[in-house]
Amino acid sequence: MKNHALRPLFVVIGIIVLILLFRIVYVPKDFGIGERGYMYGWHRHSNEQDWKNFKVKYQGKEYCKDCHSDKYDSINKTPHKIIQCENCHGPAIDHPSDPPKLTIDRSRALCLRCHYPLPYPTSGRANIKSIDPDKHNPGMECVTCHNPHNPMEGLR
């Protein structure tokens, strides 16, 4: 065959070689199939560790026990014991070093998440005592009267 016919072929081969070389440099060493095979496991392995290293923010109720034992003991005697402290105070992260204080949400909306009257007999919502926010002391924060850590005790 004539040389001019082969020339484009060499160009194409050259490009392919360049792409393969670039691929060797660019694709991380740990890229490959995992235990799940080609179809579901084709990935960069160190990314699994990247996700494992993500910061944990919600510490759970037991974390608060030693420093805020008054609140902890108080709420555990009431039906509110099922609610995590951080649901109302936000994630503890590294509190008290960072942040030194957690937020205090005194809004009515917080309590109404569970205590708003929804007439849904086929859901767990039916088992929670509800109040009509338009009739039950409207305009006042619930916590002026109810202690969230002990909602029916000594109504303030």
Partner: protein, 281 residues
């Protein structure tokens, strides 16, 4: 001059060469394949989830916890998990909504119909006269036959269609069954978002890469519960290991009547629901 015979011969060789996939050049080692199978059975973890819709009260604290734990921008509409409300009335109609994904709970009995559609401005340059407002539908409590909440999250399918469609290997399934996204490798093509039949994927507003529920991989691999499971006061959400026969979640799946979403797609979802109804899609 090329002869007819030559031409045919060369075409056949070229066609055969083109049809040969690159993967065929890799020699499959039977030992390696065996090891892979052994690893599948030896690896003692397969994460699975149970949602009890009877227990859910729609407080939305799971959505709040998920967004804060996983740094999904709080005031955007995207979320990795959300809670849907279903109200079925006597006329057989289904009314469903999920305002803000249920992040702030359901503090009205009105059903959100979404934003009102604006009248299209006649002049493209003119400013719309009215701001879009959220529309609501009132429902008479006496008309309700059943009403319930359904928390949704990634199903961590055994056959994840979202992983199959990724052209660059940025999304994958871990050996313990969780589908993750490699943010450094994702090119943002959005195929996986289209490919998911459950609509659980979205673009992260900050990283602009595909984003999804990770079953809180950073927590479950440390022995903690996911943020949503921990936040739920009513035990409506549970996570466990399917390969441990004594795990409470495994026991529920083995002994109780559970169902999955869109089983007909063949994705083998691993989030099992108690009390799922036909209205739930």
């Amino acid at each position: 001059m090329i002869t007819r015979r030559d031409f045919l011969k060369k075409s056949v060789i070229t066609a055969a060469g083109v049809a040969l996939p690159l993967a065929a050049f890799e020699v499959l080692d039977p030992k390696k394949l065996m090891a892979q199978e052994a690893a599948d059975t030896k690896n003692g973890t397969r994460w699975a989830f149970v949602v009890d819709t009877y227990k859910c009260v729609g407080c939305g604290l799971c959505v709040k916890a998920c967004k804060l734990e996983n740094e999904v921008p709080y005031d955007t509409s995207v979320t990795r998990t959300w809670v849907e409300r279903y109200v079925i009335t006597k006329d057989g109609k289904t009314h469903a909504d999920t305002p803000k994904g249920g992040r702030d709970g359901f503090t009205t009995s009105k059903i959100s119909l979404g934003m009102s559609e604006e009248a299209a401005p006649k002049d493209m340059m003119a400013k719309p006269e009215t701001k879009p407002t959220e529309k609501f539908e009132d429902i008479d409590p006496n008309d309700i036959t059943k009403a319930f909440f359904v928390p949704k999250l990634c199903n961590q399918c055994d056959n994840p269609p979202c992983v199959q469609v990724c052209p660059v290997g940025a999304t994958y399934q871990t050996p313990d069954g969780v589908v993750l996204v490699d943010r450094t490798w994702c090119i943002g093509c959005g195929y996986c978002i289209m490919g998911c039949p459950y609509g659980v994927r979205f673009f992260h507003p900050v990283y602009h890469t595909a984003e999804k529920c990770t079953f809180c991989y950073h927590r479950i691999t440390k022995g903690l519960k996911t943020a949503c499971v921990q936040a739920c006061p009513f035990g409506a959400r549970q996570i466990g290991n399917l390969k441990d026969p004594n795990d409470p979640v495994t026991k529920i799946i083995m002994t109780e009547r559970v169902s999955v979403l869109k089983a007909e797609y063949g994705t083998k979802p691993q989030v099992f629901y108690i009390g799922l109804d036909k209205e739930v899609r």
